[in-house]
């Protein structure tokens, strides 16, 4: 027994174990209590995540479970970002599902999904990676369809499920080919094959590699594989959309980082030019299509595609600098999106359920704080200086320039300028337009809008906004918090 424990180095998975344990507890509590007397399941979930976050500082680094997983500082930081984001999202969940009975299920599913993120970022074996992807995605499919009465939500769940199943099938096919090419499913063959002066990989290895990478690109919504993003983000409940924008991205990016040669370190030109093209297409197409959106959730969906394109640039940088810039970008990006979607969650019930941008008009007069919070998030998403989005783009573009890829950096800067139009248009609508007629009732009785906002979502929103501001003013301090 003790020899098994020693051999498996089981402590490396402690954060995931804690999260899974709390998810099971939440499900059990939900099963044995009535809806009316159920304690706040989110508080239990947040406690679990906090414990997991603390424990991730103390677990040993290294390989565990017979080479199935490996924890290093990058995977640990990526997982910490996902955990912190998950805590904030769980703070918003009560206002989304306030009258519903689905809150404990939602909390448990968020925890399971985060577990999947943990397995994906630490996976060293393709079976682990595949199970991680499934454990990450299954809860997302379910949560996308949580508003069972809303046809849009059902459509989102079905579309996400079918596209996800397709991506999983591609990945399994790729795994079969990879097994044939290498003789086992360990992920270190990627790194070995892409070393400098290594034996050039066979065509069959490339086929497996492309298929597995494609599954990851599906998950993060890079451009030829982005069709699902729009309807899924729009149809899902807003707080869940906030979770969807960052959790699969974190997992997919760091799984991809383990199987993709970073920059020119491999000496092969094909992966670099592929990533060049992917990154350029993703950011440009995302921004172009976002320009034309009238619905704020659809606009943010396209903006998330565009940001995915910026982040893909990190793969053009050799060494650890690109990965660190990517971690910082993902952390800031998660905060910005949580902030924006929290405001949308809070505003939606009192306004247009379709959430057209026009329906936000006059928000600065009716809900000043929410309007300011949304404006800060949008400024940050644009990349304006005092906020985190600027520093994130700055670090990334600086590293890209240092690696000698001038044109893609210029494209990213041009795209950021372009994106200012659609982000700032929302701010303009919020401040300069008069509130819509339907909203004036609410002005008379402010109780309708404001008191329904739960305390926890106010705290989550405040933390997200403070994070966005701090990461812009003092990026070093912010990096220390997320244990970079």
């Amino acid at each position: 027994m003790s020899s098994w424990l020693q051999a498996s180095n089981w402590l490396v998975m402690l954060p995931e174990m804690i999260i899974a344990f709390f998810a099971l507890i939440i499900l059990l509590v939900a099963a044995f209590t009535k809806d009316s007397e159920a304690p706040y399941p989110e508080s239990l979930a947040i406690t679990g995540l906090a414990l997991a976050f603390i424990s991730s500082y103390y677990i040993p680094e290294g390989v565990g479970y017979y080479g199935q997983v490996a924890v290093d500082s990058v995977s640990r930081t990526a997982f910490s970002i996902a955990i912190l984001g998950g805590m904030l999202v769980l703070g918003v969940v009560p206002s989304q599902f306030g009258t519903d009975t689905m809150r404990s299920e939602t909390s448990a599913l968020v925890l399971f999904s985060l577990c999947g993120v943990g397995f994906m970022v630490t996976a060293q074996h393709l079976i682990m990676l595949f199970l991680g992807i499934e454990l990450l995605s299954l809860p997302l499919y379910i949560m996308a369809g949580m508003r069972t009465r809303d046809p849009r939500s059902r459509e989102a769940a079905l579309k996400y499920f079918i596209v996800g199943a397709f991506a999983s099938a591609l990945m399994l096919f790729g795994m079969a080919i990879y097994l044939g090419a290498n003789g086992d499913l360990l992920m270190n063959h990627f790194a070995l094959s892409f070393q400098k002066n290594a034996v050039p990989p066979t065509l069959i290895f490339f086929a497996g590699w492309i298929l597995i990478s494609t599954a990851m690109l599906f998950k993060l919504g890079a451009v030829p594989f982005h069709m699902w993003v729009l309807d899924v983000y729009q149809g899902s409940p807003s707080s869940i959309t906030a979770f969807m924008t960052f959790a699969p991205k974190i997992a997919a990016f760091f799984a991809l980082a383990k199987m993709w040669p970073l920059g020119s370190e491999s000496g092969l030109s094909t992966p670099i030019s592929m990533m060049y093209l992917l990154s350029f297409l993703t950011m440009t197409a995302g921004n172009m299509m976002a320009l034309m959106q009238r619905n704020i959730k659809r606009m943010l969906a396209y903006s998330s595609i565009a940001h995915g394109g910026y982040m893909l640039m990190a793969f053009l940088i050799s060494g650890t600098e690109g990965i660190h810039a990517l971690l910082f970008y993902l952390a800031v990006y998660a905060l910005m999106n949580i902030g924006a979607f929290t405001v949308i969650t809070l505003v939606a019930p009192s306004r247009d359920p379709e959430l057209s941008i026009i329906s936000l008009s006059g928000l600065a007069k009716t809900h000043t704080y929410l309007a300011v919070a949304l404006a800060i998030c949008l400024f940050s998403l644009t990349g304006l200086p005092p906020f985190g989005g600027f520093m994130a783009k700055f670090f990334l573009i600086k590293a890209v320039l240092a690696s000698g890829n001038v044109y893609i950096a210029l494209a990213a800067i041009f795209n950021s300028l372009l994106s200012a139009y659609y982000y700032l248009r929302v701010v303009l609508v919020m401040t300069t337009r008069e509130p819509l007629a339907a909203d004036s009732d609410e002005l008379i009785s402010p109780s309708a809008g404001f008191t329904s906002i739960g305390l926890s979502s106010r705290i989550a929103l405040a933390v997200a906004i403070i994070g966005v501001v701090i990461s812009g003013i003092s990026p070093d301090f912010f990096a220390r918090i997320i244990s970079l």
Binding site: M13, Q68, F112, L138, P139, T148, I204
Partner: protein, 182 residues
């Protein structure tokens, strides 16, 4: 690996799988899928994995497909509802895509034969599988349970109707209040 058995079995799997997606009656699809599963079990037998072959038949053909059939029969599918998409564009693009994929992987497979690495001993018997599950694959084995649990929770959530309980509560209240008046 018995090549003489392998080729007929693979042909059978391909034909049955095509039948699964082309059949317009979902019950036929499910039954053809059972056939494909049994044929896959045959491939496992060719690889000297008797235990895996048995599990394949027990679990897939026996348990999962029977559940499939249960669900298909409980869902009311009318004869005029065809599963096959009739859109010309999507059909054409589907054929084009799968055709090009087929040729791509056909040529890859030709190369594949020359580069086949040594995969070592196939652990297809009960002892080998048990060793794998409890030692090197102990973590994935546990994670599978989490995935299944999530799927189970998902089924409950998706089939749960939030208004149903409220309505039934109101109905019972009405009955109770009516009883009090009487």
């Amino acid at each position: 690996m018995n090549i003489l058995l392998f080729y007929p079995l693979s042909a059978l799997i391909i034909i049955l799988s095509l039948g699964v997606i082309l059949a317009t009656n979902p019950v036929h699809s499910a039954l053809l899928l059972v056939g494909a599963m049994v044929a896959i079990a045959g491939v496992f037998l060719c690889l000297n994995c008797e235990f895996l072959a048995m599990l394949q038949i027990f679990i897939y053909a026996g348990a999962i497909m029977v559940l499939f059939l249960f669900i298909v029969t409980t869902i009311d599918t009318r004869k005029d509802e065809k599963f096959v998409s009739s859109a010309k564009f999507s059909q054409a693009s589907g054929i084009l895509l799968s055709g090009s994929m087929f040729f791509l992987f056909f040529f890859l497979a030709l190369q594949f034969v020359q580069h086949l690495p040594d995969t070592g001993r196939w652990l297809g018997d009960a002892k080998g599988l048990g060793e794998l599950f409890l030692k090197s694959y102990s973590l994935p084995f546990e994670v599978v349970t989490l995935v299944l649990l999530t799927a189970m929770a998902g089924v409950i959530v998706m089939s749960h109707d939030p208004l149903y309980r409220r309505r039934s509560k109101e109905a019972s209240k009405q009955i109770l209040s009516g009883g009090n008046k009487a």
